[in-house]
């Protein structure tokens, strides 16, 4: 009888990720729970879905990263635990859980404990505002982008907390590096996102995605990346996001050949695993934001692919971005701290600032042929000047070698 009163809401493949939320809401309504409880239950289920999806993605990525790097290095990678090493994350987890948790005597134990927990929280919060599919926006916040950046900045605090609380020198050096790096690279990251806000006219991330929905000539998607200012901003955002996620070649805070493991040196066992997790979730968040801002979020890349559930497109694009991070990690050496800073302040930030007038002109001139004619030189000429400067001053000198005749 009661089933008839609360019909189960219909859902499609598109809204599959909503299923836990709908299920919880339906169950709560079934037992006659008050409205506020239903809404809280639904939100909790939604949050649980996001956390669950990204935690499994983290486990998968930890395996995929090792396999990919292994292939780049002509190795096989983990292949003993389960089929193709699929159980390796489980084995890693068990190992991490059973390891001794060491707290150095000189450490401030409370901060030492709090830091790894605090590093996970902002990443999950940031993932909460991401439009993961057309119907899958965990929290559709009006100031989503602002929320993302402000929450993302919290990571620095926990990194510094870890470095300070360890009471050791390598973590301290690592934390100092992390602070200077993250603060410097947050600037180009945010500035390059400003153009998108100007063009879209909204800080709501789902609006930004919807805005990129159309196609030029019926087959080139109208993603922000395929505009002159968007291309420049996307490139800057990409580079800055690598630095923000502490990935190679900008992995100075944990540069293992110099300062052992940076702020994580004095951590072991599950606390270390939490740092690892926080880092990977942060990676998902920053790469996801890049996808949302420049790669059309959950939009299909070609018009006839519209039947595929949109959240698949989001995750596919995310996978592409993350694979490119892995590829870079397998190839590049690490930069030095002063070079890192110089690159951010002398190259990235000026170029990022240029994308703002470019985006403004793009909107002002009506996003047509004229806009291309106007914005391309605006971005290209400074780039050429920068390149010439790089060749003259910053580029390392070319060398000649001689052979002794004797």
């Amino acid at each position: 009888m009661i089933f008839a009163t609360v019909p189960f809401p219909s859902f499609t493949l598109e809204s599959l990720p909503q299923l836990p939320k709908l299920l919880v809401e339906w169950l709560l309504m079934l037992v006659g729970a008050p409205d506020w409880l239903v809404s809280i239950g639904g939100t909790a289920a939604m949050a649980g879905t996001v956390v669950g999806v990204f935690l499994s993605a983290f486990a998968l990525l930890s395996l995929v990263e090792r396999k990919t790097l292994a292939r780049i290095q002509n190795r096989l990678g983990p292949n003993r635990a389960g089929w193709f090493g699929i159980l390796q994350p489980v084995a890693d987890g068990i190992k991490m859980l059973t390891k001794e948790d060491i707290v150095p005597t000189k450490a401030e134990w409370l901060l030492h404990l709090a830091a790894p927990i605090l590093i996970v929280v902002p990443s999950i919060l940031a993932l909460g505002v991401m439009p993961l599919g057309r119907e899958w926006v965990p929290v559709n916040m009006e100031l989503g982008l602002l929320f993302f950046f402000s929450v993302g900045a919290l990571t620095e605090l926990s990194v510094f907390m870890a470095g300070w609380a360890s009471g050791s020198k390598f973590p301290m050096l690592g934390a100092m590096r992390a602070i200077s790096q993250m603060v410097s690279y947050e600037l180009p990251l945010i500035i390059s996102a400003l153009g998108v806000i100007m063009v879209t006219g909204s800080l709501r991330l789902s609006d930004i995605v919807v805005h990129q929905g159309d196609f030029y000539f019926g087959f080139i998607p109208k993603w922000n990346l395929f505009t002159p200012w968007g291309f420049a901003a996307g490139l800057i955002f990409y580079i800055a996001s690598i630095a923000e996620a502490n990935r190679c070649p900008f992995d100075l805070p944990e540069g293992e050949s110099e300062i052992v493991a940076g702020h994580m040196t004095e951590y072991s066992g599950f606390k270390y695993a939490l740092f690892f997790m926080g880092e990977y979730l942060g990676l998902f968040a920053i790469a996801g934001l890049g996808v949302t801002l420049f790669l059309g979020g959950w939009q299909a890349p070609l018009p006839f692919l519209g039947w595929v559930p949109t959240w698949i497109w989001f995750f596919a694009k995310l996978a592409v971005i993350i694979m490119s991070y892995l590829w870079i990690r397998g190839t590049f050496p690490r930069v030095r701290i002063d070079q890192l800073m110089r690159f951010a302040w002398l190259c990235l930030i000026p170029m990022a600032l240029l994308t703002i007038p470019a985006a403004a002109l793009w909107v002002f001139t009506g996003k047509g042929i004229v806009s291309w004619v106007v914005t391309v030189p605006l971005l290209l000429i400074p780039w050429v000047i920068l390149t010439i400067l790089f060749n003259k001053r910053l580029a390392p000198a070319t060398r000649t070698y001689t052979f002794a005749d004797s």
Binding site: T331, N391, A395, T398, A404
Partner: protein
């Protein structure tokens, strides 16, 4: 320094004075690492990893690991080792320990009573095999020697060291057959020498007997003549 020739920069590096785009070298690196990643799926010389317990690398017969003692027919009596202690003295890390076997009278039996090699000390140099004048000690190719017994398991005694000549033949046919030929030749030589010695001894004996017989005959003759003389 004498006159020097200036060479061009290497092909991978842009020539001096040429305008380069920043980041070109990075892209070049990415191309190479990407090529390696993709080719590792189908090119044998890219992916050289061997899945050890299931697959095994072809190990050169010349590979040496720990020494073994060679015996000819029977492990107890056929050991070639004469406990001369040359290897014990030459062993750089001093990991060989030999006790000569003696009978109840204290006479050397020319074989080891104890022959221990501590393979936790042994550094696989092969000098023992090189200096052995009796073709007794050789380097083994066996490499799966790990054990959970730190002390007993790594101290190889005669029971684990002694291996047959056939094993050696299987391990390194060339070396072993050369050694066998040499030993055979030596044995033949020895046998020939022994035969010659025996023949000589026999001849000696015969000669002695003959001499004795002659002497006896002479004696007898003398006695006879004496008898004759006496009788006459």
């Amino acid at each position: 320094m004498s006159a020097e020739k200036t060479i061009d920069r290497l092909p991978a590096v842009p020539k001096p004075g040429r305008w380069i785009m920043p980041g070109l070298g990075l892209i070049q690196g990415l191309v190479i690492s990407g090529k390696n990643a993709i080719q590792s799926y189908y090119k044998k010389d890219r992916m050289t990893t061997i899945q050890y317990p299931e697959q095994r690398a072809v190990i050169s017969p010349n590979f040496r690991n720990f020494p073994f003692l060679c015996y000819d027919d029977d492990a107890a009596t056929g050991l070639r080792c004469t406990a001369c202690s040359i290897c014990e003295n030459e062993c750089p890390p001093q990991c060989i320990y030999i006790v000569l076997d003696r009978d109840e009278n204290g006479k050397s039996l020319k074989r080891p009573k104890v022959f221990d090699i501590d393979i936790s000390v042994c550094m696989n140099c092969g000098i023992c095999a090189e200096v052995c004048p009796f073709d007794s000690i050789y380097m083994d190719g066996e490499y799966e020697m790990s054990t959970d017994d730190r002390f007993g398991g790594l101290m190889l005694g005669l029971d684990r060291l002694a291996k047959s000549a056939e094993y050696h033949m299987k391990l390194r046919p060339e070396e072993a057959s050369a050694v066998m030929a040499k030993r055979k030749a030596e044995e033949e030589k020895k046998a020939a020498a022994a035969a010659a010695k025996a023949a000589k001894a026999k001849a000696d004996l015969e000669a002695k007997a003959k001499a004795a017989a002659e002497a006896k005959a002479a004696e007898e003759a003398q006695a006879a003549t004496e008898e004759k003389g006496e009788s006459a």
